[in-house]
Symmetry: C2
Subunit: 447 residues, 2 copies
Amino acid sequence: MERADIVIIGGSAAGATAAVSCKRRNPGKSITVIRQEEQVSIPCGIPYIFGTLGSPQKNLIPDTLLTSNGVQIVISAAEKIDRKRKLVHTAKGEQISYDRLILATGSSPVVLPIPGIEKENVFIVKKEVGYLQKMLEEVNKSSDIVIIGGGFIGAEFADECKKNRQANVTIIEKLPHCLQLAFDDELCIEAEKVLKDRGIKIVGNDTVAAILGDNKVKSVRLTGSEIKADVVIVSTGVSPNTELAARAGLRVDDMTGGIVVDRYQRVEGDADILACGDCAMKVSYYNGKPLKTWLASIATNEARLAASNVFVTQYAGLGVVGVFSTQIGELAIAAAGLTERQALAEGYDIVVGQAKAPSKHPGGMPGAVPTSVKLIFSKNNGVMLGGEASGSISVGELINVISACIQHNMTAYQVSLFQMGTHPALCASPIAYQTVNAAEEAVMKLR
Amino acid sequence: MERADIVIIGGSAAGATAAVSCKRRNPGKSITVIRQEEQVSIPCGIPYIFGTLGSPQKNLIPDTLLTSNGVQIVISAAEKIDRKRKLVHTAKGEQISYDRLILATGSSPVVLPIPGIEKENVFIVKKEVGYLQKMLEEVNKSSDIVIIGGGFIGAEFADECKKNRQANVTIIEKLPHCLQLAFDDELCIEAEKVLKDRGIKIVGNDTVAAILGDNKVKSVRLTGSEIKADVVIVSTGVSPNTELAARAGLRVDDMTGGIVVDRYQRVEGDADILACGDCAMKVSYYNGKPLKTWLASIATNEARLAASNVFVTQYAGLGVVGVFSTQIGELAIAAAGLTERQALAEGYDIVVGQAKAPSKHPGGMPGAVPTSVKLIFSKNNGVMLGGEASGSISVGELINVISACIQHNMTAYQVSLFQMGTHPALCASPIAYQTVNAAEEAVMKLR
């Protein structure tokens, strides 16, 4: 029987980060990561295997991240947690005892009960390297790709499937727009325009009634039409992996499907077990309500929280702000906190401020692209509730500026006086800096 | 005699922003900007005229920014402020009365008393379009360019002078390194390496004893050597333009040379006059001490502060954090708040956290470059004092994330649990996200 001070189950974003952060914060403690996969895919990098990267082997979290930090890796499925004896049993028959256990078992793609979904060449987006390799080979041979679900994974897959490849690509989305759960309509439409300009067909407001073909998929039947398909990619969301936890008697939240944890990432009813990442229940920064949001960045944040609270209660998480970003073609779009639609649905009285300016200044600097920011504030106290941005690569960090402002409950007034740096080759002009100007516009509406 | 509710003297970053922000915050008020220049150069864009942009005409703040907001422009030098009658007299004989006056008279380049500095083809970096056009023509004809002063303007000029041009370019810097007032040594050395790789010669720890030649410059004499030069660019800092204010009896600060203002940007002793931008005295965010820092981004922040306080006292500025960024070759470097050197000089006990990761993830994504973050925290309370970053274009907004954390006095612990978004094409991996990992490293040293 082996033993480690901290045992972590799962080796993806949450598990790997928890291991590194635990080691940093508790350098004297022994840490073992138990995971099923020989090799671990970078979860958010998976779509890029199919175009930009070209191979699942180019999208791995390297084991050296763990081993160079002195973390042990056990490759085996964790089968059972014996909470009384503080032991994890693996499929290979190992028993590993722990002082503290961190569950980071992740999530699995949702498999909708669509007739025919079991057919050959219908792929759900699993994180397994072998599966992804097979999927890539079929995508490379395909001429008609249908993607079910136009969220981040679906939109990114569509974009990547068009790179270095002649196949027809169609997205089927049951909502009116792709990416609608993350962005307000104007950004969805902007992204859809780029997808369409790249020759991708988008069918909104429709669902798949059946996947047709003999053994292998031949087409997809929608409510009123049929689309030829030799490959189908199902990207209709994920659900938390909680079987192991449930078998150990830990409570799973009905609404989100996540393992119930407190603000310290501690599971309910067992002081020695924490959970983080997609498998753990999340609550909103705004109102503490359970939240169905799964992101690698949230997973790593929770992993760091778990690591900091693993032996001593130190820091309660703020709840999830939620910061999303993606790139479609050359367009980068991002959102932090509540969209306008979400804020209204939550019952907020809101004001919106918007500003647009070139990403460099003067606007004639090579590579400058229009970059816009939209900020949403509570009408009653002026506090920022969320923000969205579109433009080019810098939007990835621009949205983190907005996230920082949200995490400090800054008001429109304060954001309008935010002290930023601006350089001609790197940012909008200080006169036109979008975040500040959007806030200033909101200030006027708040009076 | 004309009249405006708000008269602003100066039409560059501070003046233009004050005008737009005043109009937004007080839509019913009439606003007049008095300025000398027919056309206004974008101040921080000036070096880019000499390479990337190719013409002063491509580096202008457009008048439509003001006119489309209903702001009047009077092109004339303001000669006298009659504070008793609340009147501004211009060089063209106009008299414009005001209810409130905002001084945004900017700064002028320092002219060091170097023998020979008056010679032909010795240029100080004035913001005047005609002067810059003449300077550009001479730079275009030159084969040996010497730049005196290796601050931002000097380093950027050197880089730009090498674009599409064969001239020898030499920077003379009296400190050991270029950019040393803004960055710690490691970033200065990184930037100098890029400059040197581009064929630029850097002479550190040396000063110019004389500029030689007949009418026209032929060479520059240093303490122990002489360098051939047919063009000399003097970029040895700026000093505030305060003559007009001083003539009107307003107090000018001895140490910084700026018009004395309070945290609301109101000048001392006259409730109807405010000042902002390079002409106004600044104080440090950290300790309230006067600060010799002049940046367009600070100018626009002060302009918005002035605009918000012009009729009603609303909001006291926090003092200057100071956010610097630049691009040298393809390398972007940036700093916010105190550098390690500055923090030590201020007497802080500090800890430093550092992290480096590719700008995209996996690191094999095309265009990914190593991006590093260094954060400085107070050892006594863990509060972040400053940060520096190097990498590519996203560093322009990454440093603003750091600035947001500084403006909220976040501790290393809090920054290590910062909620950011990360996308493969836009940011470092969430596991490796530099700002969070640098903070986590510091957390360990703080215990």
